[in-house]
Symmetry: C2
Subunit: 400 residues, 2 copies
Amino acid sequence: MTALSASALLASITKASRDEPDSGISAAVNHGIGRPGIIPLWSGEGNLPTPEAFCRPAIESLLKGETFYTWQRGIPPLREALARYHSRHYGRAFEAENFFVTGGGMQAIQTILQMIAGEGDEIVLPTPAWPNYAGPMRMMGAKPVEVALDFANGRWHLDLDKLFAAITPKSKAIVLNSPSNPVGWTASLEDLKAVRDECRKRGLWIVGDEVYSRFYYGDKGEPRAPSFLDICDTEERLLLANTFSKNWAMTGWRVGWLQAPKAVGPAIERIIQYNTSGTAAFLQQGCAVALDEGEDFIAAQVVKARANRDLVAAALRAHPQIRFELPRGAFYMFFALDGMTDSLATTYRIIDEAGVGLAPGGTFGPGGEGFLRMCFLRDPAKLGEAMDRFGKWLKTSKPI
Amino acid sequence: MTALSASALLASITKASRDEPDSGISAAVNHGIGRPGIIPLWSGEGNLPTPEAFCRPAIESLLKGETFYTWQRGIPPLREALARYHSRHYGRAFEAENFFVTGGGMQAIQTILQMIAGEGDEIVLPTPAWPNYAGPMRMMGAKPVEVALDFANGRWHLDLDKLFAAITPKSKAIVLNSPSNPVGWTASLEDLKAVRDECRKRGLWIVGDEVYSRFYYGDKGEPRAPSFLDICDTEERLLLANTFSKNWAMTGWRVGWLQAPKAVGPAIERIIQYNTSGTAAFLQQGCAVALDEGEDFIAAQVVKARANRDLVAAALRAHPQIRFELPRGAFYMFFALDGMTDSLATTYRIIDEAGVGLAPGGTFGPGGEGFLRMCFLRDPAKLGEAMDRFGKWLKTSKPI
């Protein structure tokens, strides 16, 4: 036979694609998916399916035969709806030409990275962070320069001096995710201004991930977190990745967007052309309606998330071996579990023994080991049951 | 203001993403799209929308709430349908584990390239070829080593000695697209065996694009073109990119697949995770039905394509300044126009003056300049009208 051994085949692919570790989130999902009775809190998605009101325009478009190749930058009605959405929420005019539709928030990030970084370049990012920043950087030969947030006295803190000290002549950008997945830390306007000023001074791109902006639990009922759009020009070195996944319960649609200066539009169009050749036009019709008519849905999601956050926090506070900061944004509880040094092994054990699916903190980079992440945008009753199971497990078991 | 100039912004992105030329197909589309009365034959798609029978399962799935994150490798029912489809058409058993669902054929190619090549690596490919091979290679820092097919005495010919002489120690793969877009050249089983044997000998990946396999106009009514699957092991260095776009009229869905040895499955899964994080599960439900129930549709498409090919060929033969080989596969007429040295400028002129949208041969790489590409999987009446308009234009105008 002419079959080759696994090792011969693996020796024939690039080192980066062979050696890149699996995301610990994927590892947890793959370990536990499909188990009877498992309560999955591992992924970053809510428990509600997409509202039918956002599905119907997609279905109509599909049945109308809008099934051909489409604009690589996204259909004009969606780009215009994005401009309207931003004008409403950021209190100034935005133009459709600054928005580019992508195959999910992940493709927005991938597109940004391909545009600004290559072999040997560096990108600075605070951690713990979603592993899907550092992973694709490494796979393209760029180096993620990870600067751990400090967790001290029950608070997460970004040391800006430490962050800026990580900049070198090879740096191309600072990536800032606020509100942060997984820690819930949310940049103040002052933090954002400091990052903006440093990027301007050093000629770096500001790469913002404000996907969780609407899931913000400020003291004054603010409808969103502070944003680079409050303090930046759209035509400076500013790139923002975003998605329909979280706000509108569309994780499975795989549609997102990217905001960029107009001048780099042709480069973005080429990268989209060579990555996926665009996003299904009929799906984009549903996304446009979500932007225009989704505010009540978002408001209800945020109310639920805040209540769930408090429910989970109350349950976790009963355990002296657990430490966390109440998140100001996003919808994750990221908590330290005393005595845990292998969060992935512990995650597997909690799946096996308690039937609760969490994500291991170690996968979120420096500062993440010793923690576990729990998504709380779920059904409150299920969440309560998960907390009961996990609480019992904590009383009888030891983390690894 | 803090806006930067276009040149300052462009100076801040990578050279590869700044300098990569636009695809000439995109340039033609962008030049002519939306013009009243234009007959578009520039893109590689038929004129029929997706049959409702393939849409309905997607709609049902969407309304059932299958709107969550899904398997990075594709949903099991679709991977099993892919195995069944291949078993039917290639006369032996295939396993679901060798198939990976992607966001279109383009993402299958991008995934392959990211897995096997990086900065400084080389990939050998015959041209004229779809520009979406060489483009993404250049953008990732790899070098496409293009070997022009010969067009002599009205026939396209691949000189295998010339192809193999282009292999160097930096080579990672030979990419072979058969039937070929744009020229319609189709590899014989002997050609495929020679490529296979050379790749085995030199330790290279065989990267096959057999997207147009079913659009094959053999002399004996064969249902498909010769394939690497006729002569290769699934567990050797064989990677095949494919798509639902052409056979099932689903260009706008952006769903494709990739066939690979099982051993590299985890690497493919990671690359998918970091590019798009998967393909909408509800769309995949429609694709599974297309595979299982789409044979009558494909058969009708191929009958139509063959008749259209002959219609277009008859019309073009009336013009002495035009030379072409009757394509054995795919659904493009790729013809030389005497006196043309700038196919893009001529394409613009034909759009402007004749209202017919073609694609410029120069964009398909070495050997392509001096030619124009016309997609003939269109409505025959429209195609006839396009040939009339183009014929009149040829009598009164000169190419550039």
